[in-house]
């Protein structure tokens, strides 16, 4: 019989090994699924396209980084709230509002050149995301309304608001009534950092933000505050932390970062506001945050991993005509195995030699 026995101390080896084990299990499970669903295609070539090609192909690799950037930024913000037990599930909504706010500023200054425009758009997107998240913060602090429901429902409001904007004030006047904005002019577009690709400066900012977040969590009292609040709320009061402020700040940070990611998407790969702005990054970033065990540096890697599943998944769709749900299956399995393998950090598996 297999038994789980609590370890006296958390296993350091397992902290590193369990993600590798989870990856292996995901790959093996994916293999089994492919063997069942693929009739006349070679499993190995699908595998190659899904997992290896995005890392080696000169077009796909920068695309992977393009996708990783918003996941990383949103994931960082969410991880801060999650540490404190504040469950912002609606980053997607804050992302959309951020995209609208940043985009609207760019469109307002259409054809105005200036180095100040991008920072201004970024600022608008952060404020937009923060304001949108602060609705949930206000309701939670003032009326004890559950932030999970508020943030989630406001996502749908945000998406509808986007389409209202695109059919109204932000619609391209010369766009044949398509619900799309003008294409941003050059000053409102993010600088490309890899010539010939869509990889923009947002990726570098995402890396910098994760270093800042890492410092904040390790060395700043705010990091302690959210950790203590999440782990023992009474101890947080004992330490003199104001729990309302913890709620407010975590939601503002996650909302602001999600808003910034929305702006990066609009002013980066999209180049305009379209109904296609919401890409489920806000929801996928939840997986990103948990895969990384809410650790900021881990989020860099987990966002790359999830981005790989997006890019690889799209590629097998195109090349082998496989269903788009391949990506979701892959992401789901990954999260499942990660969470499952984490139990090995706190427990060890013992094969029981039955005596009688």
């Amino acid at each position: 019989m297999i038994k789980l026995i609590p370890r006296v101390e958390n296993s350091k080896a397992m902290i590193l090994l369990s993600p590798l084990l989870a990856l292996t299990l995901t790959a093996v499970s994916a293999l089994i699924i492919f063997i069942f669903i693929l009739d006349d295609i070679k499993v190995s070539s699908v595998f190659f396209t899904l997992f290896v090609l995005p890392l080696t192909d000169s077009y796909l690799f920068p695309e992977l980084l393009v996708k990783a950037a918003p996941l990383m930024i949103i994931g960082l913000g969410l991880s801060i709230g999650f540490r404190a037990g504040i469950w912002n599930i609606g980053a997607e909504g804050q992302y959309v509002i951020g995209g609208i706010a940043g985009g609207a500023v760019g469109l307002y200054f259409y054809n105005v050149e200036g180095f100040w425009l991008l920072p201004l758009m970024a600022l608008a997107s952060i404020i937009g995301g923060m304001l949108y998240a602060s609705i949930a913060a206000f309701l939670r602090i003032r009326y004890q309304v559950n932030e999970i429901l508020v943030t989630l429902m406001l996502t749908y409001v945000a998406v509808l608001f986007l389409s209202a904007m695109l059919q109204g004030p932000l619609r391209n006047p010369a766009g044949f009534n398509f619900p799309e904005s003008r294409i941003f002019h050059d000053s409102a577009m993010l600088p490309i950092i890899w010539e010939g690709t869509r990889l923009h400066i947002g990726f570098i900012l995402a890396i910098i933000l994760s270093l800042v977040a890492w410092f904040g969590i390790k060395k700043h009292m705010f990091g302690m505050q959210i950790k203590i609040t999440g782990s023992a709320p009474r101890a947080a009061k004992f330490a003199g932390f104001n729990d309302n402020k913890t709620v407010l700040y975590s939601l503002l940070i996650s909302g602001g970062l999600a808003g910034l990611a929305g702006f990066f998407e609009a002013s980066g790969p999209a180049g305009q506001l379209t109904p296609g702005l919401p890409q489920f990054y806000g929801f996928t970033a939840i997986i990103v945050a948990f895969l990384a065990r809410l650790h900021p540096i881990g989020i860099v890697f987990s966002s790359l991993l999830i981005a790989l599943s997006y890019v690889g998944g799209e590629e097998v769709q195109i090349e082998y005509n496989l269903p788009s749900s391949i990506t979701q299956i892959f992401q789901g399995m990954l999260l499942f195995y990660f969470l499952a393998c984490d139990i090995l950090i706190k427990y060890k598996v013992v094969l029981n030699k039955t005596k009688d």
Binding site: H220, M221, M224, R234, A235, K237, F238, A239
Partner: protein, 499 residues
């Protein structure tokens, strides 16, 4: 005389550490048997073996004369062994009744269940309301729930781990009536305690462990309290005495504090006034659930009071939070260790930061200097004899006594002008309690004021020169010990409750 339980030559090792080394223990039918020992003496291990949650490496046990090798607590309970743990296993969001039902093996809901709980509650003087939510109960009331839960299983051996730590003298003697009654009805009791006076009062036999080994089995009445304590800790105990009670000017005062509770089951505090002088130790006695938690919350600053109610060192502190109060040199030790005074899943280093006067330089502009933090942790660990490999250990991995020493040390190294402490030695072994009491006295001797809120009357009597009683949210005037004495305190403690 037959033995209900015979435990022979039990050995249990964890790696190199022998938690139990050739320990034997025999509990007679219908007797109350004490198990004495310091933290780490191996009491818990032995009890876990008896209760089936650990398997011994060697040795054997007999239950009712036949071989007994429980593989799980479930098996132990089936044999008729019940246990009241020191750390309660209750669901806070459920009611008393629901908790009791969940703890019983194979019992469903039925309509008479409330009556049955109330029957036991009446019969044994264990005052509880079955419909109340456990999260709102004091520690004392939670323990009563645990005891009733065990009694409902009609056990033949009841193991009680430090049962009286939270009870009043009246409740203790009621409990003793209960226990004697149970013993007369044929239920043996294994009574784990470090309160030697109680052990001498109620137990007919005592087994003393030290460092995993059996020291002696004896009849406790044949030894003095001091002799028992010294057998237990293996060295001479220091007598508690204040070298010089030298009180200065007023440093802290509460003026007509009234505060309705936010909680429907909480206690409203009514018109509490109190003044502390430098160098004085003032005690607030009282039964759990009479407003101690509510008062402590306001004193720590977890909840603000009106202006002109709390004064410390010339400052009106009612609206300051705990962190701001600490900057004025007020420090606090709450009753609950895990989850209130310390975060269980964080290291001792991280737990140092719960209480951080800016003068320590552990943080500057909210940026943490971990080197300084761990220097302080090391100082607490060495000065207060905290048994732990390092400051990186999680708080929950420490025993109750060690964690309490850490929490006391964390506040005392700051040399507070005022220390407010609730239940300083609850669930702490005699040796550690003695250390903690001594360090409190040393602090007061240096001119600091100390306010102790405790349900342990012995503790209050031995430490405090001014004693008040909190009952139903009202604080009595100081009790004149010379004139009125213990009787008056007991009377005040149950004052409002008797009606």
């Amino acid at each position: 005389m037959n033995y209900q339980l015979e435990v022979s030559n039990i050995t249990k090792s964890y790696g190199d550490l022998k938690a139990n080394d050739d320990v034997s223990l025999n509990i007679k039918d219908s007797s109350i048997h004490a198990l004495l020992g310091e933290n780490g003496a191996g009491k818990s291990t032995l009890v876990k073996i008896i209760y089936g949650s650990l398997m011994p490496d060697s040795g054997e046990m007999k239950w009712d004369g036949s071989n007994y090798n429980p593989k799980s607590p479930f098996e132990a309970r089936e044999n008729g062994i019940a246990m009241v743990f020191q750390h309660f296993s209750l669901f806070e969001s459920l009611t008393v009744e629901e908790n009791i039902i969940l703890g019983l093996d194979g019992v469903g809901l039925n309509e008479n269940f409330t009556d049955e709980i109330l029957k036991y509650s009446k019969q044994y003087g264990l005052d509880i309301n079955p419909q109340q939510v456990v999260g709102d109960l004091s520690v004392g009331a939670r323990q009563r729930v645990e005891i009733i839960r065990c009694l409902l299983q009609k056990p033949k051996l009841l193991i009680m781990d430090e049962p009286t730590s939270v009870l009043t003298p009246q409740e203790v003697s009621d409990l003793f009536v209960t226990l004697r009654k149970l013993a007369d009805d044929g239920c043996s009791i294994l009574y784990i305690s470090h309160k030697l006076e109680e052990v001498r009062e109620i137990c007919s036999e005592a087994t003393i462990l030290r460092g995993g080994k059996l020291v002696q089995s004896c009849v406790p009445q044949e030894h003095s309290q001091k002799e028992l304590a010294e057998m237990m800790i293996g060295k001479k105990l220091t007598e508690l005495a204040r070298s010089n009670i030298n009180t200065g000017s007023d440093i802290f005062s509460i003026k007509n504090l009234s505060c309705p509770s936010d909680d429907m089951f909480g206690v409203d505090l009514t018109d509490i006034s109190l003044t502390l002088k430098q160098g004085s130790i003032v005690g607030i006695a009282g039964v759990a659930g009479n407003g101690q938690d509510e008062l402590m919350e306001l004193l720590i600053g977890e909840k603000a009071t009106d202006n002109d109610v709390l004064y410390f060192d010339g400052h009106d502190i009612g609206s300051l939070n705990s962190h701001e109060r600490r900057q004025l040199s007020m420090f606090f030790i709450p009753e609950e260790r895990l989850g209130h005074g310390a975060v269980p899943d964080m290291s001792l280093d991280e737990n140092m930061l719960l209480s951080r006067p800016e003068s320590d330089k552990m943080t500057s502009r909210d940026v943490i200097d971990w080197d300084i933090v761990s220097t302080f942790t090391q100082k607490v660990i060495s000065d207060f004899d905290v048994q732990t490999p390092s400051g990186r250990m999680l708080a929950k991995s420490l025993s109750g006594g060690n964690l309490q020493k850490f929490m006391v040390g964390r506040e005392l190294i700051r040399k507070p002008k005022l220390l407010i402490v609730s239940q300083p030695t609850w669930g702490v072994d005699a040796g550690s309690a003695n250390n903690i009491h001594q360090s409190l006295i040393a602090l007061a001797d240096q001119g600091s004021a100390i306010l102790i809120i405790s349900q342990d009357l012995d503790e209050i009597l031995s430490l405090c020169e001014q004693i008040h009683v909190l009952s139903e949210g009202r604080l009595s005037d100081a009790v004149d010990m010379k004139k009125d004495g213990l009787e008056k305190i007991s009377q005040l403690m149950v004052g409002g409750e008797s009606s």
